[in-house]
């Protein structure tokens, strides 16, 4: 008979209590994982941002446009590799709830600027030539069962009217952190229509993405861009893509902090649940520990018995929690409005933190019962009733 067998048998001595403890731990681990996944999803844009991409936008606010003519001046700055314009198009696809990013861009340069969007060469070429074509992300295509050649009708709001786009390519994300829910189409297509319908809105873009050759020079180049347009009608604010994304996330900073705190409060709850079970178990077995000591078992054995039992329970709770986390996250994502979180994956770090926290809590929960079992003398232990 091995020590492990005794530990295992002890762990399941009170089946209902252990079952409830395991369920409690698993729910806590699942809740921790879900909260961390939401926080990770919120920060996905920041995490996916490139160090050598800058964002140049209107200094007053992101909602004000910049002249298309600025592009050439930015491109001339030494160290600048690619300058590509974007417009947040908005609009409605079928129903208002179908939210995803619809952006007008420059087909010539957009995939040079975003190499993480993987598109077939021939699709890119058609996209460059065909004015009303669009390229959509793989996840978006899957969500709406779209394929190359299909037509997407968008009812414009920022840019009024009905807009028709033919899908000429579907981009794949390079990895899980890349948003695969975007729709990209030609800025010129939008601009030409603006020239006819609202001439005062033509020749404008929302922001520029500026790829630079050396990420170390981002501050210097940002300053040079903003200096060029100082005192112009559209002063600019240039910052790294990471800082730009963080600006978005910062507006929800308090919520994210609260969720992060909650995630770690949950770990505390696991510890209390398991600690309570272990303290009850150890108290009930005071006499048994005394008997074991009488038979010649020593401190190390008692530590192994108690910590082992606690670790088995926490391991099983953690395992079950991670097991239900994946379907639960999938269900949560399905429940959320489509495209609310373009990237919603359980990060490996979440799994590692959840699993290691469960085990660490398992060990921590056994410390007090171990201390008590070691401190209680054999004589006092044998007298114990309960």
């Amino acid at each position: 008979m091995k020590i492990f067998k005794i530990i295992f048998k002890n762990a399941f001595r009170h089946k209902l209590r252990v079952f409830l403890t395991i369920i409690g731990i698993s729910i806590a681990v699942m809740a921790f994982g879900l909260l961390r996944t939401v926080v990770t999803a919120w920060n996905a844009g920041v995490d996916a941002s490139s160090a050598n991409r800058l964002i140049t936008r209107q200094a007053v606010s992101f909602v004000f446009p910049l002249p298309y003519a600025d592009r050439e001046q930015i491109a001339k700055i030494p160290g600048v590799d690619v300058v590509t314009p974007f417009i947040w198009f908005g609009g409605v696809y079928i129903e208002k709830k179908n939210f995803f990013a619809r952006m007008a861009c420059d087909p010539e340069t957009v995939f040079d600027s975003y190499p993480e969007y993987l598109v077939e060469k021939e699709n890119k070429e058609i996209f460059k030539k065909e004015r009303n074509s669009c390229i959509i992300g793989e996840a978006l295509a899957k969500q709406f069962k779209l394929k190359i050649g299909d037509v997407m009708n968008i009812d414009g709001d920022i840019f009024p009217g009905r807009w028709q786009f033919t899908i000429r390519g579907i981009y794949k994300p390079r990895d899980k952190t890349v948003d695969a829910t975007q729709m990209l189409f030609d800025w010129k297509y939008v601009d030409e229509r603006m020239k006819q319908d609202s001439p005062e809105r033509s020749g404008l873009v929302g922001w520029y993405v500026v790829n630079i050759k050396d990420a170390a020079k981002s501050a210097e180049i940002s300053e040079r861009i903003d200096t060029i347009f100082k005192n112009s009608r559209a002063e600019t604010k240039t910052e790294t893509e990471r800082a730009f994304q963080q600006g978005f996330v910062a507006s929800s900073g308090a919520i994210i902090t609260a969720m992060n705190v909650m995630a770690f409060v949950i770990i505390g709850i696991i510890m209390l649940v398991l600690g309570n079970t272990m303290i009850m178990s150890a108290r009930e077995r005071t006499r048994e520990y005394a008997v074991l000591k009488t038979l010649g078992f020593q401190g190390g054995h008692l530590i192994a018995f108690i910590a082992g039992e606690s670790l088995i329970i926490s391991f099983m709770g953690g395992l079950l929690g991670l097991g239900i986390l994946f379907p639960f996250v999938a269900a949560f994502e399905a429940f959320m409005p489509k495209g609310f979180f373009p990237v919603f994956n359980i990060a490996p770090s979440t799994v590692i933190i959840a699993a290691s926290s469960a085990l660490a809590v398992g060990f921590a929960a056994s410390i007090f019962p171990i201390q008590r079992a070691l401190k209680t003398s054999i004589v006092d232990g044998l007298r114990h009733i309960g």
């Binding site: 008979m1 005794i6 000591k293 009488t294 038979l295 010649g296 078992f297």
Partner: protein
Amino acid sequence: MANAITIENVSKVYQRDKMSVPVLNDVSLEIQEGQFIALMGPSGSGKTTLLNLIAGIDRPTKGRILVGGTDISTLSETALAKWRSSQVGFIFQFYNLIPVLTAFENVELPLTLTSLTKDERKRQVELALQVVGLSDRMHHYPKQLSGGQEQRVAIARAIASDPSIIVADEPTGDLDKKSADEIMTLLTRLNKEFQKTIVMVTHDPSAAERATITRHLEKGDLLS
């Protein structure tokens, strides 16, 4: 015959909060190898304390205890634990079996601390259970056994590692008369057939009659 146990001027004082409670007063006793001694006395007379000191699960405040020539009062906790596992077999009033282990596993428990192989352990456990007449119950859990059977498993556990001394604290205290007689017959057999030195604490005069010698304690003093 040589002394199995020598108790020299042993006193024991317990500290309860700020109070000193004397339990044994300058007790001296010699127990020879192969003796079966019964310690009797009223509650609080110090008999269980004396038994605990002999078994090495408590330490005297004063005096020394030699068991098989070893002064156990000077051993470290680790050395004392090893000594207990090899030299002493314990029988408790309430059996103190581990409820999640079968009779076989309970008897095997002290043997897991030895260097015996699995097969050797199995042979020894089966032999011990055979001696107590429970070969047919070795895969039963304690809750599936009667009180008398549980105590017999406890006796098998006590003799499994072939100790030289067996200490028994009220071994019949929780049993009906028939079961108590069976247990006492078993202990007598262990003493006579297997030459085990047995120290037993009891309130029961009929149990004490089975011992070869009876000593009385009163208020911490060893009488006649």
